[in-house]
Symmetry: D3
Subunit: 236 residues, 6 copies
């Protein structure tokens, strides 16, 4: 990823990114119904590396399967590139875990940028204390083998009803996670950074008592002028 793009994405919200995508006709890029275990962290930014789960068949998912070093879940954890976001398609099913504290720790230590599952994680109280962005639906203590079988690494998946292609740029904040198609990452990041400057200006004006009419959007010329002055003053 372009370092400038990454830096811009560290400073914008998923809300602003969703609006930039909406303008481009993309309305399903927000991963529905996931939340950060630790909401106090900086943004999570990275390219998607994916793991696909299918429903578990009991004979193929005994506790012994993890002895196989080629087991896709374990393999993915060791192969996910540093800087990437590990995105898991858990079919929105949080009745059992997508993974637990040890695998999450390993991904953190390997320099991965963060993790998202539309299911749940186990050891969630421990994960919530890590300085590492992890998003899920809700805690789930049972082992993933109970209902999930890891089946595919780095293929296109769905996560929380959003389409996720390997390499898409994934951004998370305290609100949730958005998926930016790879080819749009630079332009969306740039536009979102611009929008953020404007929204910060508007927020300041609103807190000073100004009406939103003519300001948001800036249909009054005076507000556009004021914004340009504000930018200069703020150096943004």
């Amino acid at each position: 990823m372009n370092p400038d793009t990454r830096q811009k994405l560290m400073g914008v919200s998923t809300a602003t990114l969703c609006t930039a995508l909406f303008k481009r006709g993309l309305v399903h890029q927000f991963i529905q119904d996931v939340r950060p275990l630790n909401p106090s962290l900086p943004n999570m930014v990275g390219e998607a590396y994916t793991l696909r789960y299918m429903p578990a068949r009991e004979d193929l998912n005994t506790i012994e399967v993890f002895k196989n070093r080629e087991h896709p879940q374990r393999k993915a954890v060791e192969e996910c590139p540093p800087g990437a976001v590990f995105v898991i398609d858990s079919r929105k099913d949080a009745r059992a875990a997508s993974a637990g504290g040890i695998l999450v720790s390993r991904l953190m230590k390997r320099g991965v940028a963060g993790i998202v599952s539309d299911g749940g994680f186990r050891d969630s109280p421990d994960i919530a204390k890590m300085p590492f962005p992890v998003y899920h639906q809700r805690p789930a203590a049972p082992t993933n083998l109970t209902i999930h079988q890891a089946i595919d690494i780095n293929v296109p998946i769905g996560c929380g009803d959003a389409p996720v292609f390997p390499g898409d740029v994934v951004v998370g904040d305290g609100e949730g996670v958005v998926v930016i198609p790879a080819h749009l990452a630079d332009e969306v990041a740039a536009e979102a950074a611009e929008m953020t400057a404007f929204e910060d200006f508007v927020q300041e004006r609103v807190m000073a008592g100004q009406s939103i009419l003519g300001l948001y959007p800036p249909t009054d010329e005076a507000n556009r002028v004021a914004f340009e002055a504000w930018r200069k003053a703020k150096g943004r």
Copy 2:
């Protein structure tokens, strides 16, 4: 609203209010499945001012529509009376936002008492830090245009399966939000204040080790006597 009623409602819980309404045969007045973004605030109390969303049709909900000062969402934000609670019927759909941080800030600055949506808000981490009561289902980064179209201002609506008429008295606490029909507000507030005194007495007795039998409800005369003494002692 009667200032005495407002004051009483600042000091009672939504749980106690629900019981007072239950005694009057009203069992659907608690807004289901909403929670405060900032749970540490005092009660929210005000008369309902409503906004109704319908499902968005794409051609009527481009990003350009907000340039229209008569757009119902923006109009409502500027016209909601100070002291009122802004209640949004989002059809329990949190896939996109009901509103975001800027509009919430504007309502706060305009002296509105609080906001409730049975959908979700964007910029939720920012809203959670405001000294302003806002309730929703879950965070939702996508712009409201994605699935919601603001269509009616200050009409009777549903919110979280509760009926809400403009002017109904809306009360929120750390637990959730209850809607008191306008004509019952004074008597329900008065009764709830009385009930709260009794519940505080009971809670004190229970923490001192007394059984609930005969105490809650006070079928033992001795407990009724003790309560009267307690009231005198406490000046309540």
Copy 3:
């Protein structure tokens, strides 16, 4: 309960217990979709004492019914043994409360170990401040009479899709609640304590940068040796 078993269960996670149960073919023992109101407490451990709710019929659930000292909800609150966990089958319905702050306080004062409902509690902000483990789905201000009728005490029930028999050993942590069949409690506690030692070792190794391959599970002999040395060093 065996005091040694209780002590072990105070020191293991529900995640580890679920894995021990999974190895025994039991995959539905985690109570789905409940969470602690106060997530900062030590583990909750105790034998299950149950209360079953059925849907309320209006004529049998007026506010007057609590005047009857034999009302099953009130009776259960006074009869649940100290040290037990009070488990309520609320049919996963949180539209009205399973109980409120006063009954929860009474159970706490009576020495009960904790409470679980697959519905919701009222007075949840107060309960969340108590040094007492309570788990539910979400807050619910309306009185239980609105939709629940207490009908049976200490019978086998379902709670969050888990089977719960009176006397089963119930363990809660910051993640959720698991139900251990009574006859398995000792062996599962012992196995989980062993597993916890190993997981602590693994976590330490992972945080030191080691790969999970060959370590988790320990298919490399070297890791088994290292673990034995670690145990000796740590006295575990």
Copy 4:
């Protein structure tokens, strides 16, 4: 059951019965989300005989358990009184069967009046061909042991969110199933029979082109007179 009451209930609809119950403040007596497998049969009428399922624990629900003649499911099937309606609390879970064609056949042969489950039946294509009223949510081929354990016979239960007490009068038609509290059966049946006569009159008038205003309800005196004349003419 009073034979006259039974006869009246054979000739009225669940819709009319729900209205009679609504007038008495009972609004949860319709079993939600169940449908007849064979919608062409006459009404089902009988007193409730209940079976309660809880979530299955795997070690207690092997295929061997049915060898036990005291197994509650099999016992209930042999003991349900002729003329009764067999009502099963399946916790609204149709992922596995509540029962199958053989048990349904046995109940039919034993003279039971019908069966209702808020889960599903297996062998549903066969059951749909029987001259015997059976209601469920949707077909479910897996054996009940998969997720259900029969635990209690003839206790108060919930079925499709309706409260069902043994002895309540259960009525099914092509639309669904309603539960009449035992003590109200005679008066509700009588009232519903009267209402049915009036509704038949109204339907006839509407099909003849009359407006519903003043007719339904009959606020115009002329329509009350016409109804009396119609009753005489029809002998109802």
Copy 5:
């Protein structure tokens, strides 16, 4: 409505209409999760006339309210124009009826084109026998007063997550119901009629054994030629 448009819409499927709308960027016009009570009827075509329900408040929804000739439900039934489709916003809640057999009969007799609710109808077995198109989610015996209050006539509503404006053209077939924005009705009807001719040709070719590749869509010139010949031969 243009008679030619109406005639075209009588001969096309909701599936084809959805594709024509999809091409125009409209993807939420199919009313989700409703089905015809009588699936053997010709298409339903008419302009939308709407009724909005909100959650019922008990004191405003006693059985007496229907004595008021101005009650919105009854008023709407008498005022809906012949040829229109009566569309009800029941908030996707089928726990109680949107209406019953008598009101449905009145609408039929008044020449209304059909009825759609995203809730349920009572007297559904009777309605299913009428030569009149009615669509709902599932049968619901309880009177609408139980959970619904009619509040607005002929305003924009949601129905099954689709936006419905008064005057939109509503088309139903054996599959479901689609809502065509008023200003697009003529062009969408024309395009759908053309598409239907082509699909009939394709279906004939496929049944004759031809591959869909190059045929559907007709990327092979030969298939375009064959289609033109087919049209001439068939006079379409």
Copy 6:
């Protein structure tokens, strides 16, 4: 597939197959919440050929994409082997179609054994008239492009929460669809055929008035003897 196995599977029910799988510890093989569009057909039997959908991204799913002969949906329809069952992972989402009448016709003409989707089909009234087994959740008129993107052919998938591997043996009847792991197909078919003989005997005895106790299961020796005699008499 072994022709003898296929023949046996044509004569047994999905309910019986589920029990045979349950005995082997496989409890998730029934595809949840799908039903036959035409319930009057013989069993569907074939090996699974799969298609995986992911959530649609708008820019990749314009109406133009079908011009590409390599589009996975169209390719799969032309390549699915005769005799196979075409199984689609639609993520249980029926808001848009999995396919329509023309593709279904093409699969039928190509000799495919049947189709299953856990979403919905468009042109469902036409499909319901075909002599071809098709199973889905509910009708869905919108084109699949609206929410589905075909992404993978013949990979392991989930369908209605069941695991499906290419080559698994899929059986459908009037009740639903079950997935038999490939390596178990012969033995499960044989066992199910035996069980069916016994169940037919039991059903005959039950219809003749015999109790199920001692008969089902046949814990009475006399019933085992009677069954052997019955088999000889029937030649089964």
